[in-house]
């Protein structure tokens, strides 16, 4: 139901376009007849509600239409881009969660002392960072000056030609492991480093904040204090009880930050010339390629809805007080 609304809104918004999609289709220097023919072929001369109806019926059959910019089916374009973007986002989240938990626990166990302030500062920096700026700074420092990491792309050309990677899942790291292509694995990992770091800043900040807050809460609870009084080692308390509670809230917070990270990924991809859904969507939006825009938005919205649903389910599973 909600997804239908999303489709409707996007369709309306993208058809207010003052541009001429037929002109985009035919290329740079077309003749008048070519534009006319393209207009007919693309069905642009039909009234708008007819176009919407056609779009919906195609959608139900799984046909997302043809991108006016790339002349490929939107479905194939989105599918190729999606795995690349997911690889980036998942890596970023992994880094963010691991680093965030460490810093958050450290911060909570030294509350109101210097380490706590440092941790909180790091968290706030992460959350306040404009993602595109961080990406560029990382490029300047690690790529341009120190020459440690590459400036962009998913794989270097030499490696992709000499040690071609077979695409099975679309995730380069997984595919290279499955095919024992060690060189490709190393190369993909090397290229993944900076983009995921840049993207990890925001979820890192969120994680630290969440973990710290929850752990402080738990540390104040009566059962913690009684546990301490009973003589249980403090480290055990920290990690086993406090962290477990904290993690569930963090997962929820991360789920909610997924949307923000997704849009951060868009800008990140453009800067690192990462061939993912973000680059595709951004280029489609800038070219006013409405089938591609619709397709990307729908796929992203569906993902977003799924993630939110998963978060709700997870929440209900963990906490019997919360009903779906």
């Amino acid at each position: 139901m909600v997804v239908l609304g999303v489709i409707l809104i996007t369709f309306i918004v993208s058809h207010v376009i003052p541009g001429n999609p037929a002109a985009l289709w035919v290329g740079a220097h077309p003749t008048a007849q070519q534009i006319q023919r393209a207009t007919e072929e693309l069905g642009l001369n039909k009234p708008i509600y007819v176009q919407f109806y056609i779009y919906l019926t195609n959608l139900l059959r799984g046909d997302l239409g043809v991108s006016i910019r790339t002349h490929d089916t939107v479905l194939s374009d989105v599918a190729t881009g999606l795995t690349a973007t997911l690889e980036l986002i998942i890596s970023a989240f992994l880094i963010a969660v691991v680093a965030g938990i460490l810093v958050g626990v450290f911060s909570a166990s030294h509350r109101d002392h210097v380490p706590d302030h440092a941790g909180r500062l790091a968290a706030i920096f992460g959350v306040s960072m404009p993602p595109f700026w961080l990406a560029m700074i990382l490029q300047i420092i690690f790529s341009q000056t120190l020459h440690v990491f590459p400036l962009g792309s998913r794989m270097s050309t030499q490696v992709s030609i000499m040690y071609p990677l077979k695409t099975i899942t679309g995730f380069n790291l997984i595919d290279s492991m499955l095919t024992f292509n060690f060189v490709a694995f190393g190369d993909s990992f090397w290229h993944l480093a900076l983009p995921s770091l840049a993207l990890a800043a925001y979820p890192f900040g969120l994680t630290v904040r969440m973990i710290r807050t929850m752990m402080i809460e738990v540390l104040q609870e009566n059962y913690t204090r009684s546990g301490l009084a009973w003589g249980l080692p403090s480290r055990l308390i920290l990690f086993k009880y406090a962290l477990k509670n904290a993690i569930s809230s963090t997962v929820i917070a991360l789920g909610m930050s997924f949307a923000y990270t997704l849009t951060g990924a868009f800008l990140d991809e453009l800067i690192f010339v990462w061939p993912g859904l973000g680059t595709y969507t951004a280029l489609s939006i800038l070219a006013l390629d409405y089938p591609a825009i619709m397709g990307s938005v729908i796929v992203v919205a569906i993902f977003y809805v799924i993630i939110n649903l998963l978060v709700d389910i997870f929440q209900a599973f963990l906490d019997p007080r919360v009903t779906l």
Binding site: P30, Q33, T70, S153, M162, P275
Partner: protein, 536 residues
């Protein structure tokens, strides 16, 4: 759990990690030792993606790929005189007031699919292009009949005097393909040849064959061993075109050697590249210029004096040095520098504030007072810098210019609507399909029944007739034809029909370990990989 047990688990975990890392390192080492033969690969980083691969309909960025896979009858090479160089045709002549053209074809040439090249292939290719009627097919408009006189001779009958040598060497729509493509397509399970092409196949005679077609990211081509031109040892076995949509990443790639040829780097950084011994910067004329179309149908630019006044207040030199960092030159007329048909002795406007004010006063608006709209292409930094300079200069005439960035289709839509509501200045690049001044003059200054590219709405029948006359003579008497083209150019310059801003210079950066690079402005953005030799 007990302390001992916990320590044991920790030990196991460490051992497992060590084993995995060691295995990975060993595997890496083993894999790299497996490749004794390293093919010679040349990688060309480009800024825009490609779209389609059908040589009959392609009219966009795939020219970079297709020009290495296919060949036309004639190459246009401005460094030669006359600029027509035999490709698939070894000689040609025209008769009957250039309404009949006969081409003698090269023998011993094969298509990539094994089919021998002959006159039937030529007839098939041109007719296919004409029938599909897309892309640059319009260039074959005057062709009424193609006759196969014998295996290696083909004849074109035209409806009017036309320079068919110019058409046969055009940058698009002139490629020759194997007549076997429909069979190949159906055999591979495709509905038609177009679908077959766009799935990543080619059917040309060129030095390279298409191996991988991922138009938004990467194109890989392998050498065609039976190419009629033959091969030397130091030429490249594989050519890769990689789409890198960012100038700064391209710059880094050429500096690190990850790409051996790049197309676009920030102009401001080129001086430092010129000092780098690992790369060589090639500059050459580019048949592309930037024009600002005055809205000739709307106040105030319907007044010639106002147009001329504005033409005198543009800081041309500052734009060339500041925005283009010297990699370009002020336009003299609509034909770009380096292209036959460009005449240095044509009049040109210079920055002269007093003259501008004078003209404006003459027109009746000594204090300016206009509010105008200029549109330009979003995301193009050179256009952006140029229009910002224009905006700032027009303030001196007390004209307020609103500069608005739009996508191409948006801009074009606006201009194709009601001229009284369209923009006042439309900034746009132009580059030719047909390698003749006619392309510029026809598309940009000739009267049109519906607005296509004459985006200044400059409709003058006397200019039209000069243009048409020129083209009619270009097939038979080039000198006279070019004389007429020059006349037409003078008319539009005197009239200040458009703002003649600048001619773009082409920059390509190539690693020093590669020799033989030569840019041909007739085939924009194309790197002919066959010409490259590896020296290092």
């Amino acid at each position: 759990m007990s302390q001992v047990k916990r320590n044991l688990w920790k030990l196991v975990a460490i051992v497992i990690i060590v084993i995995v890392v060691a295995a990975g390192a060993l595997g890496y080492y083993y894999q790299t030792q497996q490749k004794p033969y390293v093919p010679k690969i040349v990688t060309y980083a480009v800024i825009s993606e490609m779209v389609t691969a059908d040589p009959s309909t392609e009219f966009s960025n795939s020219i970079m790929t297709l020009s290495n896979l296919y060949e036309p009858l004639i190459w246009y090479d401005p460094s030669q005189s006359p600029p027509f160089v035999p490709a698939l045709a070894t000689s040609w002549e025209s008769s009957n007031n250039s309404q009949t053209w006969t081409f003698h074809l090269r023998q011993g040439v094969k298509f990539h699919d094994g089919t021998p090249f002959d006159a039937t292939a030529v007839k098939y290719s041109i007719e296919r292009t004409m029938t599909l009627g897309q892309g640059a097919a319009f260039i074959w408009g005057p062709v009424s009949k193609i006759n196969v006189l014998d295996t290696y001779t083909v004849q074109f009958i035209l409806t009017s005097p036309t320079p068919l040598d110019v058409i046969a060497s055009a940058s698009y729509g002139a490629w020759i393909m194997s007549p076997n493509i429909d069979n190949l397509a159906t055999a591979a399970g495709f509905t038609d040849a177009s679908a077959w092409f766009n799935a990543g196949h080619d059917a040309g005679t060129g030095p390279y064959m298409l191996t991988k077609w991922d138009p938004q990211n990467e194109i890989v081509m392998d050498k065609f061993a039976d190419y009629w031109g033959g091969w030397k040892d130091d030429q490249f076995d594989k050519a890769v075109i990689k789409v890198v949509r960012d100038e700064t990443v391209q710059e880094q790639m050429i500096k690190s050697g990850e790409a051996q040829v790049v197309q676009q780097v920030p102009f401001a950084d080129i001086p430092s590249l010129q000092g780098d011994a690992n790369v060589k910067v090639y500059t050459s004329p580019q048949y592309q210029n930037l024009l600002g179309f005055f809205n000739n149908k709307k106040f105030p630019f319907n007044n010639t004096l106002v147009r001329q006044a504005v033409s005198y207040v543009i800081p041309y030199d500052q734009i060339i040095t500041g925005v283009l960092h010297g990699f370009g030159s002020q336009s003299i007329g609509p034909i770009p520098y380096g292209m036959p048909g460009h005449f240095d002795d044509l009049p040109k406007y210079t920055y002269d504030l007093n003259k501008a004010k004078q003209l404006l006063a003459q027109a009746g608006y000594p204090n300016g007072g206009f509010k105008l709209l200029l549109t330009y292409m979003t995301g193009d930094t050179r256009e952006e810098g140029t229009v910002e300079m224009i905006k700032s200069s027009l303030k001196d005439l007390n004209i307020e210019l609103d500069i608005r960035a739009m996508t191409w289709t948006e801009q074009w839509s606006l201009a194709q609507g009601d001229p009284s509501k369209a923009q006042d200045i439309f900034v746009m690049y132009w580059w030719p399909t047909l390698l003749s001044p006619y392309d510029f003059l026809l598309n940009l200054f000739h009267s049109e029944s519906s607005v296509i590219f004459n985006l200044g709405y400059y409709y003058h029948p006397d200019v039209d007739s000069v243009i048409d006359q020129g083209y009619a003579l270009e097939g038979s008497d080039k000198t006279q034809a070019f004389g007429l083209y020059k006349q037409a150019q003078k008319m539009v310059i005197d009239d200040a029909a458009v703002l003649f801003l600048w001619d773009l210079q082409d920059i390509h950066i190539v690693r020093s370990s590669i020799s033989g690079f030569k840019y041909n402005p007739a085939y924009t953005t194309v790197v002919f990989f066959y010409l490259l030799h590896s020296t290092g």
